[in-house]
Assembly symmetry: C2
Homo-oligomer: 134 residues x 2
């Protein structure tokens, strides 16, 4: 009798177990994937030098202090110096979420709030990432 | 008399020497600067997989065989998979000019000619290029 009701309970819980298992599997796969993004920023031309200094400081601090921030390349268009591109690689999505909670990121955001005219964030997927061994 | 005409000749040639010196100085400074570029490519959706394979092969060959090709990161937009971005760093402008003369680059160009719907090339200037030591 006891065995029968246990079996009944388990059979009811089975779909929950299966769903939990696949959810965990998916989350763990997501967490292992690097998170890569392009940020396109247009800056107020009058504040360009201050903006570049703030961006540079933010990037240097992130790479030095955050284990999950792997790569940050910031550049401006030669023809349109107020057009900035930042190419960012994080170890995973969680590393990015942790990055935007840091004091240095918040400082950068506050400092540049009135300098940024537009910001576009584009999630990207790597096709080939190759570089010379350093 | 001989000394006098030599001095006169030299004084006439002096501006030429000075100009040549500054021109050489400038050229040598230009050649030492890394050449960094973003290529934005829109690909025919029906040929996307073939295009990505050709691009990956071209990048891997360039990094492996060309000393002046330092970094090539190719990616597609998650939301618009036909929109490709390639972020390229060459040791200098000459390394880029040599790259586009290679057999593998010409092969890539020929192979992808009918796959590419648009191509935009943007010269950029680094603000901060930081990455974790590998």
């Amino acid at each position: 009798m006891y065995f029968h009701s246990m079996a009944k309970l388990l059979s009811k819980l089975l779909p929950v177990f299966v769903c939990t298992f696949f959810f965990m599997l998916q989350s763990s796969a997501q967490n292992k994937e690097p998170y890569v993004r392009i940020a396109k920023i247009v800056v107020d031309s009058l504040q360009l030098e201050n903006y570049k200094a703030a961006l540079k400081e933010g990037i240097e601090t992130a790479i030095r202090t955050e284990p999950g921030v792997l790569r940050m390349y910031a550049m401006y268009d030669k023809e349109n110096p107020t057009h900035i591109t930042v190419f960012e690689t994080y170890a995973n999505k969680e590393a990015y979420q942790s990055h935007i909670q840091t004091a240095h990121f918040k400082k950068y955001k506050t400092r540049t709030l009135n300098m940024v005219k537009s910001l576009e964030l584009i999630d990207v997927v790597p096709i080939a990432f190759e570089s010379k061994q350093q």
